[in-house]
Symmetry: none
Subunit: 120 residues, 2 copies
DNA sequence: CAGTTGCATTCCTCTTGAGGAATATGTACG
DNA sequence: CGTACATATTCCTCAAGAGGAATGCAACTG
């Protein structure tokens, strides 16, 4: 059995925290499947950089590869993308609250513990 | 009106690409509003590190501050969070296709036989 | 077979940025 | 005012990692 197990959202967000890797993801979103050479041409990066970035993206389940002769065809992997999307989704009430509760005051949470602000 | 526009998703993803900053965001999600000292205690980081990370998070609209006496109360800012969420949302088709495949497995339609799970 | 293409990997350099200590700023309070 | 507390900022060091050049390696082609 291979490891289909849980995708580490932390690792995914670390990987996405790099501009050129985000660019590769966007290119793959448009092309749906690309060889390394195609990504080199489309991105303007050098071939080794593209390969190294793709390696990182593969490790965190953001892209997947399949070998096709001497080519390697890369495509997006939904597991990593969804993990990151879900991570931000856990904050969803934050930006929903700012639409319908513009002027709500502190009176709405009397149970929130008073922080220790008075130590002398 | 609200200044909802002009949040740079690229800058947001750069900022989130750091583990301790993600931890601060999660702490703020649970506490809804925190002083720096509270975040220092909860995170285990040193005070200067917390202040510096909060500065980065503020710059990209992931958190907001309000001054309260000698305290500074930080809370999540929905603009940055939503921008990042939307960035990943633009890839939604990728894992949508993945769900469609999974739906066949859990389908109650007696005509659809669950296929063997194949990957890669 | 030699040569070529597509890609991965290694080695090296150099920048970026995270972390620590010390200090600055700013506010409350006696 | 002087002091204590809360936070921001500065200076420094150091390691992680991104980029470039060169090389390794496997698969095709003539």
């Amino acid at each position: 059995m291979y490891d289909v197990g849980m995708v580490d959202a932390e690792a995914v967000l670390d990987a996405v925290g790099e501009p050129n890797r985000r660019r590769l993801l966007q290119l793959l979103r448009d092309q749906h499947e690309s060889t390394v050479s195609q990504l080199v041409d489309a991105s303007g990066l050098n071939q080794p950089q593209v390969s190294k970035h793709l390696k990182v993206l593969t490790r965190v389940s953001l892209v997947s590869v399949r070998s096709d002769g001497r080519f390697r065809r890369y495509r997006l992997d939904g597991r990593g993308l969804q993990a990151a999307h879900d991570w931000f989704g856990s904050f969803e009430d934050v930006w929903q609250a700012r639409f319908d509760a513009l002027d709500q005051l502190v009176s709405d949470d009397p149970l929130t513990d008073p922080p220790e602000e008075n130590q002398q």
